[in-house]
Chain length 171, copies 2
């Protein structure tokens, strides 16, 4: 995955001082970049009978929709509160300071469906863990959590204990 | 496109009273739905030498990324202010009450590249017109503006005069 790493840009002090943000926009705008990440994730899960991809806004929509298209299945958006128009299920989760919340349409998942969770980046895993609990509250089965990038020093796999975690690029 | 229309849900009074929101989430979560809209848009533009797809957050990311994957090209995210980490170009545009703004990375488009703009819905066309001006400020050539849904009674094509406008479903 070294060729992919070359398409990821370090942005110091974003979104706040002391954080080095991994910018995947050069990877996404590269035709081989978007293609390669989509194919690698799809390849890993192609025999797992996945029914649906779920991804959280906003970057999770990009990776998730491309993987859903590649696998020939549908996509479920997980959104910040107030953005989904129909009846929603909601989950509140802890941040470093304060809380955040995510929503999903109540009819997005049917009981027993196999759901692959997709996002661009695994950091502390808080958003993904909350997304998984949201899907499970609707009786969906989480087949795995797939990421383009994993920041291993933040130990996000701990928050996702019990799930199959897959990442293409590690730092 | 009647089969697609059956997968779109009317939500009265969202996001505010008097508006009937066209909810495409049932379409996106249907495997044939996401596949069909992606293929129809890609088919329309496949011989136009498109270099990149651009889409505005958040629903534009879903449709745009799927089309980019289908066409084997890259994707550029257009975002609300403060969400992009690198140097940005910005545009402010008029809403019914007040203004809004959109940003794009300054290195997202190279002069002369052929860009296909993609979004889920054409209403008044304000967001798309601003997105086009943003791409043109970086000397990109707009090949077309593609939408899943067009609300023809809002006459969004007027705001997009001079561009090739393509929509799959009309109301």
């Amino acid at each position: 995955m070294n060729s992919l790493k070359q398409l990821i840009r370090d942005i110091p002090d974003f979104p706040k001082k002391g954080i080095i943000f991994k910018d995947i926009t050069p990877l996404l705008q590269n035709p081989n970049g978007l293609k390669k990440i989509t194919e690698k994730i799809s390849e890993h899960y192609k025999d797992k009978n996945i029914d649906l991809i779920a991804g959280a806004e906003a970057r999770g929509f990009i990776i998730g929709a491309a993987v859903a298209h590649k696998l020939g299945i549908g996509f479920i958006p997980i959104r910040k509160p107030g953005n989904l128009p129909y009846k929603t299920a909601s989950i509140t989760y802890q941040l470093e300071y304060g809380t955040d919340a995510l929503e999903m349409h109540k009819d997005a998942v049917k009981p027993g469906q196999h759901i692959l969770m997709v996002d661009d980046l695994l950091a502390t895993g808080g958003t993904m863990a909350a997304s998984c609990r949201l899907v499970e509250s609707m009786k969906g089965n989480i087949v795995g959590c797939a990421f383009v990038i994993e920041l291993t020093f933040l130990n996000g796999r701990k928050a996702l204990h019990g799930y199959d975690v897959f990442s293409l690029i590690q730092y």
